[in-house]
Symmetry: C2
Subunit: 361 residues, 2 copies
């Protein structure tokens, strides 16, 4: 879902994005290169750029008898020593430890490579500097759209059977009343027990890098979603909000941990909302008319207390608004009426991103 | 010294900045207002904007018999209860605790005010939420120049007789080879013993807010300059560097803590370098010719090993370059030759900022 704005900007720029396909062969015909796709389609190109990830160049290490990991990374300890303690290795070719999960990791990034170099040099000269592991903080800009991440992804956490929860917020990068506010989507992954932050991903424009960097520090410090609530960040209208995007993510996640704000992630509502659930769209009729979750009933949040009779008591209730805040209020109102209710995290915005993601996949 | 770029941009924009003076009276004459300065000068104005700080409106609190602090702030505990536990107070009118120093603090900021409101509400409803104190993270933009800070200032640390060290770096906000890199100055205050970060200030353009926010999180987490060395932040050329400004500040400060890189802050070199010290400018002759520290001798860093005889062994040596890196290399070379040497932190750039600051003051 985080990749959706990237796919959309590519489309806007006239780029045809082929997903779920691969290039099976290249053929040279005259000046052009024919790319033969797995679907059988042939594309003619003047230049082909191939981006298929990286594999460690470990030939020298292997021939020296050094241990390499299952993905080919040269095995090193926290001092960057290989299996032969007189030989050090650093950079994209080594296998390190994932800072969040503690699992072996192979993450080709310039920042970690630089730090590893310093640590190896320290150790060679007798200092016990220690590499802490790689968080995988990374960023990419595609035209004007920026996507960034730090820490573990859902895919990693699922693979490790690590329990986690996720929330979405869609704040503006600075005070919304100040000209030029750009929207971003921030997704936070955390431990539902102690609230420890496991990872974050964001997509948008200006300010995405800042929020991921702030959360990267929080992960490095072993902080929780409760610490994000208390984060004291720069606020003046051109830079942020009194309640910054990071605080908002902290509030929403901490409210989930405390049980104040039960939430359902959008991928549990797309393509279908859970069976038996009664779905309430608490936005205005105008917003509802412009598009809504299939089967939803529209009861604007401001009318909800007076229209409780329309909300059944014998079924689970799902509520949502545009980004989550009115849905939160509706959730609180219905919880206090004893209903079994959850808010769709990130609201209709997240629902739409998830729908597009499933459509693309 | 951090205010110097602000003073300079005001001057560039044709604004006359009067320092060390105050307005003693206003007089109305026809449509204009006469501002009478402490120097006796009279200025005529159509509009006068008065910015003289804020004082708590504590009349209601006082008449209710609540305790107020020496600066008029309503005294509250960590749950935002006043001296009458049934009465809560939050926002600009309260006296809280300085997160870094633990001293009483009165900091009118929107972020803390918002958090205090949530904490008071929690406590009223039986939850033991606790306000951690105010770090004083703040930011201002003056035309295109941005200045921001978090944590304690030198002034505060000196007042409390708290031991600290300071370093300066002048990195670009993103990779210097990528178009549009803007320079910033980042000053870090830390405990020379354990390296704990006490405060930071930055001035520049784009990216100043991000670095102060990252360091604000580090302060909130009780992190040290060694943690800044290991920070794993977003890097792609439009956003940062493999060694980010924050990492650089960490490296320079940690090198000072470890004794690898003795440094002198620029305010110990302006207006005069310490008596008896021999000052070496390790930049190129061209840089030297364009301006240098009075009395400095020019020995470019690349020639230093071959010209050691020109550097006396019987006196303290001060070295500097443009921003600090070549000065660091020269410091290491001279240290290994047994010389008593320090690098001017932030180099000639910091020296010039400090000179201008003293000239303005």
């Amino acid at each position: 879902e985080i990749a959706v704005p990237i796919a959309e900007v590519l489309k806007q720029k006239g780029i045809r994005l082929l997903l779920g396909q691969s290039v099976t062969a290249f053929e040279r015909t005259g000046d052009a290169t024919q790319c033969i796709l797995s679907t059988g389609e042939r594309l003619s190109a003047e230049i082909v750029l191939v981006g298929v990830g990286v594999r460690p160049e470990n030939q020298l290490a292997k021939s020296a008898g050094l241990a390499v990991g299952p993905r080919g990374g040269i095995v090193v300890n926290e001092h960057m020593q290989t299996s032969d303690p007189d030989i050090y290795a650093v950079g994209d070719a080594v296998q390190t430890i994932d800072f969040v999960t503690g699992e072996p990791a192979q993450v080709p990034l310039a920042g970690p490579a630089n730090r590893q170099g310093r640590i190896a040099a320290d150790h060679i000269f007798g200092r016990l500097s220690r590499y802490r592991g790689t968080q995988g903080t990374a960023i990419v800009r595609v035209f004007d759209v920026v996507a960034a991440l730090t820490g573990a992804s859902e895919k990693t956490l699922r693979r490790l059977h690590r329990e986690y929860r996720k929330i979405y917020v869609h704040p503006t990068h600075h005070a919304s009343y100040y000209p030029g506010a750009e929207k971003m989507t921030l997704k936070l992954l955390f431990d539902p027990g102690d609230g420890k932050i496991l990872g974050a991903q964001a997509v948008g424009g200006t300010g995405v890098d800042k929020r991921i960097d702030v959360i990267a520090m929080a992960i490095q410090a072993g902080m929780t979603v409760h610490d994000l609530e208390e984060a004291e960040l720069c606020y003046a209208p051109p830079f942020g909000s009194a309640k910054d995007a990071v605080n908002m993510a902290g509030f929403v996640a901490a409210n989930l941990c405390r049980g104040d704000h039960p939430q359902t992630p959008p991928d549990e509502c797309v393509p279908k909302t859970p069976a038996e659930s009664f779905v309430v769209d608490v936005r205005t009729p105008k917003e509802f008319a412009a598009g809504h979750v299939p089967g939803a009933v529209n009861i604007p949040v401001d009318e909800l207390r007076g229209r409780l009779a329309e909300v059944p008591s014998d079924r689970p209730i799902l509520v949502y608004c545009q980004v989550g805040q009115r849905g939160y209020l509706a959730t609180r109102i219905l919880l206090q009426e004893g209903r079994q209710v959850k808010n769709i995290s990130g609201g209709f915005t997240s629902f739409q991103m998830e729908s597009t993601a499933q459509h693309l996949a």
